[in-house]
């Protein structure tokens, strides 16, 4: 796809530097709430495109590989995922609007679009260790959880903010609690622990983010590894192409586009 940049490249680099300098100056005084807002701002860009390779490691030791294109707009409010590989899933597409409160799936062999209720977010995405809820993104960290800052820790020699996110009483999120390690230098979360829906002491999944690259001045984790500790399975997502803030039409996020 053709990138469309609203600002010259040099502006993006400058704004990225400004962001990093400001971030490091104020890091010490930030509350948990402020840090999670920074994290959300960083991962929820106005729009984005990515081609992702998803490698699912099964309990029997096999690896299944999927490739999909993903578009997002309005800071994660609109999402479209379209599968390219394997052949079995080719053409299947999922449209998520209103921060995944509205979900439609398209099945190319039957040409049928099915609307799913939000409980479907709990289902595993193509049998992976990511649920649709994990993929929905948006403002879930802000809306579904209350954040508390814990004492800072070092992770792999890098200074991290440590946050605890506890599920709000009115939220239907699938996790009772999250623990998150966020790089102080750029607000990229590099480790998230997901705790069981009922038992807030039982660690269910662990998400590790690595290979952080500056793309258009924005630090971006190019690899994500989700380990499911219950099933002893894992799923790795590798971002093959990433484009931040491309110009995306609203028409891309409609049932018509879903069937294309």
């Amino acid at each position: 796809m053709t990138p469309s940049h609203p600002f010259p490249k040099s502006w993006k680099v400058l704004s990225g530097l400004f962001f990093l300098i400001t971030a490091s100056l104020v890091a010490g005084d930030l509350t948990g709430d402020e840090i999670i807002h920074r994290v959300t701002d960083l991962i929820n860009l106005e729009s984005s495109y990515a081609r992702v390779q998803m490698k699912i490691g099964t309990s029997s030791g096999k690896i299944r590989t999927f490739v999909y294109d993903s578009w997002s707009k309005n800071r994660g409010e609109k999402n479209l995922i379209r599968y390219l590989e394997p052949r079995r899933a080719r053409g299947q597409a999922t449209l998520m609007l209103n921060h995944a409160d509205d979900i439609w799936m398209f099945f190319p062999r039957t040409q049928r679009v099915r609307k799913l209720a939000t409980h479907a977010k709990k289902q595993k995405m193509e049998g992976s260790d990511f649920s649709y809820e994990d993929m929905g993104g948006g403002d879930a960290f802000l809306n579904d959880f209350e954040t508390r800052r814990l004492p800072d820790e070092k992770l792999e020699g890098r200074d991290c903010f440590t946050l605890e996110l506890r599920r709000r009483s009115d939220s239907d999120a699938s996790y009772s609690r999250l623990k998150m390690w966020v790089l102080q230098e750029n607000f990229v979360p590099i480790l998230i622990d997901y705790y069981d829906d009922k038992d807030s002491e039982r660690l269910e999944k662990r998400l590790e983010m690595s290979d952080i690259q500056e793309i258009a001045g924005i630090p971006t984790a190019m690899t994500m590894l989700m380990r499911n500790l219950n099933d002893a399975t894992s799923t790795e997502m590798i971002f093959l192409e990433v484009e931040h803030n491309p110009a995306l039409e609203d028409a891309m996020f409609t049932e018509r586009a879903l069937k294309k």
Partner: protein, 398 residues
């Protein structure tokens, strides 16, 4: 298989594919499917094997023109000629005249066909699709009261449906509204099929209004037309007005679909479907649909040979009036899903159980198996004398 039909289909595929093959980006994909079906009937176990090859072509001819087609070829071995009367209750078959008995047969013949072969032209807010295409209206899983183009197999409701020759216009009207107008030509304008569908959203609910006019080719299965070498056709004009919705209430996914049918030569009737589903935290998925078809009988008393034959020929969607479809699915491992469907006629109390297994052991291989166990009394919609059995299917995508 008739070689002329095979050649004609291949020729048509070649003709339709030719423009696409001239382009740089032609996608070629499809699948091979091998299937075994068996049924225990009258102390015998009959078997049917089939092999299906589907080849899809797709090309973006330009920014706003898409070509897509698929060619299907199926061959059958084993018991390819089924005596339908063998599956029906004695009370129904007792009155069939001896000279007609040989005509109640279901023949599985090798065939090739196109489900899709169309050009799609996109101009701004309009899509114009011309040619053979799949038409899939409705929100229901097992039944679709607003779909007069397809009838689903209750044992395998998600299997792909055949294509229809049609001219279709999809228009985006703004504010989440869209309009579909479809014309499927018959021999004459007056016996052609027409459909209009308006879609919109209300809160988190999708709302659809549908109007269809279609020639409905009923048959009288008690009379034989010697000239046509088939049972006597009793075509009627069927006009449907209906709609559907899908959304969420109290955490449950819910949907409904309704169609009222005006028949030019028979009794009017309606079909109504309501469904709900839920996924538990432990990944178990549960779905329930209830369905009413006032064309069906209120109980098993008074069911006729025509009711059975029209049901088996997909001329009507159910024999009895009220039905239920309950489906439960759970991942047995990260590669295997187990499920069970419980299909019941609420009108006559009969029941069928369909345990299902789907496995994706390899990336492009899918294995599906189910058993169909009929538990109803003789004469009921899901009577045990329908012949319990099963199906095993392996599909390889390329």
């Amino acid at each position: 298989m008739n070689p002329h039909r095979l050649l004609a289909a291949l020729g048509l595929l070649a003709m339709t594919a030719a423009p696409a093959l001239g382009q740089e980006r032609v996608e070629l994909f499809g699948y091979f499917e091998s299937q075994f079906m068996g049924a225990s009937i009258g102390g015998d176990f009959i078997q049917l094997f089939s092999n299906k090859l589907r080849v899809d072509l797709r090309s973006e001819l330009s920014d706003n023109i898409t070509f897509a087609a698929n060619f299907d070829y199926i061959d059958y071995q084993g018991k390819t000629d089924w005596d339908i009367l063998q599956f029906l209750p004695d009370s129904i078959t007792a009155n069939v005249p001896e000279q007609l008995r040989g005509f109640y047969r279901l023949a599985f013949e090798d065939r090739c066909f196109l489900d899709n072969a169309y050009l799609k032209l996109t101009l701004g807010a309009f899509d114009l699709t011309v040619g053979r295409q799949q038409i899939s209206p409705g929100t229901g899983y097992a039944w679709n009261p607003t779909d007069l183009f397809n009838t689903k197999d209750l044992l395998d409701p998600t299997y792909e449906q055949p294509g229809h020759n049609a001219l279709r216009l999809d228009a985006v009207l703004g504010r989440g509204l869209s309009l579909t107008a479809l014309y499927s030509p018959g021999e004459h304008w007056k016996d052609s099929d027409r459909m209009m569908e308006m879609k919109g959203r209300l809160g988190h609910f999708d709302i659809t209004l549908t109007a269809v006019e279609k020639t409905w080719r009923y048959h009288d299965y008690t009379r034989f037309d010697a000239a046509a070498l088939n049972f006597t056709e009793r075509p009627q004009r069927r006009r449907l007005l209906g709609g559907g919705t899908a959304g969420e209430l109290l955490g449950l996914g819910i949907w409904a679909e309704y169609g009222y049918n005006w028949m030019s030569g028979g009794e009017n009737f309606y079909e109504l479907l309501a469904g709900a589903d839920y996924t538990f935290d432990f990944q178990t998925y549960v779905m329930l649909e209830v369905y009413r078809n006032t064309q069906g009988r209120p109980d098993s008393i008074g069911v006729t040979l025509n009711d059975w034959m029209r049901y088996l020929a997909a001329e009507q969607r159910s024999i009895t009036r009220d039905q239920m479809f309950l489906f439960v699915r759970h991942p047995l491992s990260d590669l295997v899903q187990g499920g069970v469907s419980l299909i019941s006629s609420l009108s006559d109390g009969s029941l069928a159980l369909v345990p299902t297994l789907t496995a994706g052991a390899w990336e492009n291989v899918e294995i599906t198996a189910y058993l169909n166990i009929y538990l109803g009394k003789e004469g009921t919609a899901y009577a045990s004398d329908l012949g319990s059995g099963g199906m095993l299917r392996a599909r390889v995508y390329f």
